[in-house]
Symmetry: C2
Subunit: 510 residues, 2 copies
């Protein structure tokens, strides 16, 4: 930690000329909504324990099967199925800590995953980029960098998602290095690292160490990486994901293990059944992580929605999502684990549907005490697009939620009895000294909300929130300022990326 | 109650061909969000008691001042200001019941205002009508009838708002009679009656009695009318509103007394100050109602939002709304009163803003245990328009909320262990017998949500939720079926309207 004594600090308050609420860590101080009775919670737990012990999880990664076998799981090598004794599950899940600290390049952006804190983490890497000017298309690396800049600039986004969309102009084998470098340099917030496969995970770890000037011990003591892992529902963990768990747990980086149990497709068409599958898969991942390293931080993930049974299409922001998110929060708390949820929409454009589906997820997740919300900004079209306009809509939704959960200040001054007396019945508070003293700081000021009256709006072209969002992201991108980085670190990162690309290309050519 | 033994029943399940979730009364079984500490709640209560006792409320109606004077309020006739002793307030507020039953023409649509129940009541009477085909315009009576039909047809709307928009083609003096007749005949749900002024209130009461074949005693025992009353913030009750309170309380019809305290304009630019003003005004109205008739049902109303301090424009669906709605719920519960909130948006079109502002109100109000939500369907443009497309957006938002708060069913069948075992790791639940058995009833089916994939949506014209809503309301209107009504009742209503019109016209001519 010695190399750079005067580490770069973002000047975030200066460069956000698009007016926003200030960056702040977000806590929901109210009790969560508990939808399940204690008996119902037990029943889902018990059923998932039967799933783990009687049916088992197919683990495609031989190394992971060996690790699980070594702690006492029953492994059938021919079917690759691992069965977990419920007592063993309880023992290993208990090793996982209740919270994980996340260290950003800029310490002002440090986060805690767990407790009452809620982290908004932007969309990770859908296949397509989308904005009103350029349409829906395969995104390039240059465009992905724009997206990272916007995510950096939005105060309500706590964590960069790790892409925005795939930079499809770059070779698939080395793309993760460019994405990692972009995140290390274009933002000084924390970010999600591509963790699918041992090689990608190790590269992310190496880059995090360079970026932070950390040793292995530093990294374990002060985690930097958020590592997303999806199981392959139903009841499977593929090799890339298992390797990600093993590598990240080995150096104590927070793993977020989320089954994608779309009810009616990858899990039963019942909430209780889908939760049972989810719970079995998530806990299997937690056990694997704890088998690698006891106390490795790990987050209980839920990504449970349902198909429309008439059309087979996935639906997002549904009652099933709300109900199972509340239930998943109860499950996570039962195991003493932080809880991951997400914000989703199936809409193809930034219309009313995009808003209501996303916001239903948001309020359900916040009232469920979800601790980290993936897809919190930019998620569109069922996760197939990273949308620039949606980033701005989400900035407003997130701000609104954060500010709604701030306390009410009650004191002699805010009660304002004298002001009420002085204005009197039938009077007006616009010109009151009590009002004037608060003129420029009272109340929430929106990003996207249009306050023009109908006549003005009509004369000026009747634009929708989607079109306003388009203007706002362009302004925000123009105003972007890159956070400072020590040139030596930047160079070391660039050298690492170049060396690793050479190695990978050489290996592929061989 | 003898005249019509086989009262008409709606065949609501048959005629809703636009697919909806079924009508159901809505309860939030979870504890409300309490944002204020007990000390903070006390401080706001205490400050509002000082407002009532030291500043007082200007009551423009002489008859109401006399009623208040008679129970021991201090009345200054020259200033028309009434001061309320805190002990007297406590005594009279305690007479108000905690719940009120509401009787609809179709008993299947009966409601309870209070407890855990949440009633969605559609928009009342903005000045303008709005839809994509005909634009924003002064609405006609014929169009208002369309609106009432749609409100009747939407299962998630529990109560008709009492207009949709003003029928500006009808004379102002007699318009309330036509609006009342339209509601009595085009829907058999409950509805809000125009209650501003003694004459309008008495006409509403007379029509309710005819519609239900009720005596005065019947009406008191089984309330029919929901009577909206707005105080004139700050600290004023005008004659029309005071008369509405007196008339409706006299026959025990539920009064909903809501100050419109826009913080920074009609109340201080602080949440605590605005809540103090609201509380003083609402309780003054409650006391007046109880002074007229002890035990008259009365609802504690909040309609608190804020101006954008930079522009002076009102903002809706803001953090101020969420926070003060939670606080208002605490105040209402402190006094043992049902609680009214509302759904609002300032958007000029049915875009993302309309959705997120409305839905923020919705989730804040539901988690605040609001018991009746005004403006629940069709409210647009800061309350200046009743919008046909917004009705459909709101139908989706309301359905989503209602269904999200239904319990999760957990039993051997829904846990589906055998199905999970039979499908096994890596399998698929689409073809599973467990899924097929639930094919047509599993999960929420949306009204407005588009489940087409991007390619299909793009080819078919890239329509937004607003454009889909336009098609849906037209389909719903075409499918509308008028609930049956005994011809004798219909005739008696028509006769009453005709007679009252003659009387009013004659008086105006005199």
């Amino acid at each position: 930690m010695s190399r750079r004594s005067k580490s770069a600090r973002s000047r975030k308050d200066e460069y956000h000329k698009v007016e926003q609420t200030p960056w702040r860590r977000f806590r929901n101080p109210h009790p969560p909504i508990d939808i399940l009775s204690p008996d119902q919670l037990d029943a889902i737990h018990d059923s998932s324990m039967r799933v783990l012990s009687e049916i088992g999880i197919k683990v495609l990664c031989g190394r992971s099967r060996s690790i699980l076998s070594a702690i006492g799981c029953t492994v059938d090598e021919s079917s690759e199925i691992v069965r977990f004794d419920p007592g063993l599950v309880a023992e290993y899940v208990a090793h996982a800590p209740g919270t994980a600290e996340l260290h950003a390049r800029n310490p002002a952006y440090n986060l805690t995953i767990g407790g009452d804190e809620i982290i908004f983490s932007s969309v990770m890497c859908p296949p397509f980029a989308n904005d009103l000017d350029r349409g829906r298309r395969a995104g390039t690396f240059e465009e992905m960098c724009e997206f990272v800049k916007l995510v950096h600039a939005i105060n309500a986004v706590h964590q960069a998602g790790g892409g925005g969309f795939e930079p499809l102009d770059l070779p698939a084998e080395t793309r993760h290095l460019d994405v990692g470098y972009a995140h290390a340099t274009l933002t000084d917030k924390t970010w999600k690292a591509w963790s699918n496969g041992a090689e990608r995970a190790r590269d992310a770890i190496a880059m995090a160490k360079i970026m932070m000037d950390f040793t292995d011990e530093d990294l374990i003591a002060r985690p930097v990486i958020t590592a997303p892992i999806n199981t392959n529902s139903p009841l499977m963990i593929d090799t890339a994901m298992a390797e990600g768990i093993v590598e990240m747990a080995g150096v104590g980086q927070p793993l977020v293990i989320a089954p994608f149990t779309m009810a009616g497709a990858m899990s039963p068409a019942t909430e209780a059944g889908a939760l049972s599958v989810q719970n079995a898969e998530a806990l299997a991942g937690v056990v694997l992580a704890q088998a690698v390293r006891k106390g490795a931080p790990v987050v209980y993930g839920s990504y449970l929605t349902n198909v429309d049974m008439r059309t087979g299409s996935p639906l997002f922001g549904t009652p099933v999502f709300a109900k199972t998110t509340w239930a998943s929060g109860q499950l996570a708390r039962r195991y003493g684990l932080p809880f991951r949820s997400s914000l989703n929409t199936g809409s193809n454009s930034v219309d009313a549907q995009a808003a209501y589906e996303t916001q239903l997820c948001l309020w359900a997740a916040v009232t469920a005490h979800a601790n980290i919300l993936f897809g919190s900004a930019g998620w569109l079209e069922g996760g197939l697009s990273g949308s620039y306009e949606k980033l701005i809509l989400d900035a407003e939704l997130l701000q609104l939620a954060i500010e709604s959960f701030q306390p009410i200040e009650v004191n002699k001054d805010t009660l304002g009895f004298e002001a009420i007396r002085d204005v009197g019945p039938g009077g007006h508070f616009f010109g009151s000294p009590h009002t004037l003293a608060r003129y420029d700081r009272a109340f929430y000021h929106p990003i996207l909300t249009d306050t023009r009256n109908y006549e003005t709006w009509n004369e000026q072209g009747r634009d929708s929130a989607e079109h306003r969002a388009n203007r706002i992201w362009k302004r925000m991108l123009a105003e972007y300022q890159k956070p400072e980085m020590d040139e030596a670190v930047d160079e070391e990162l660039r050298d690492f990326v170049a060396r690793r690309k050479r190695e990978i290309v050489a290996r592929l050519a061989a």
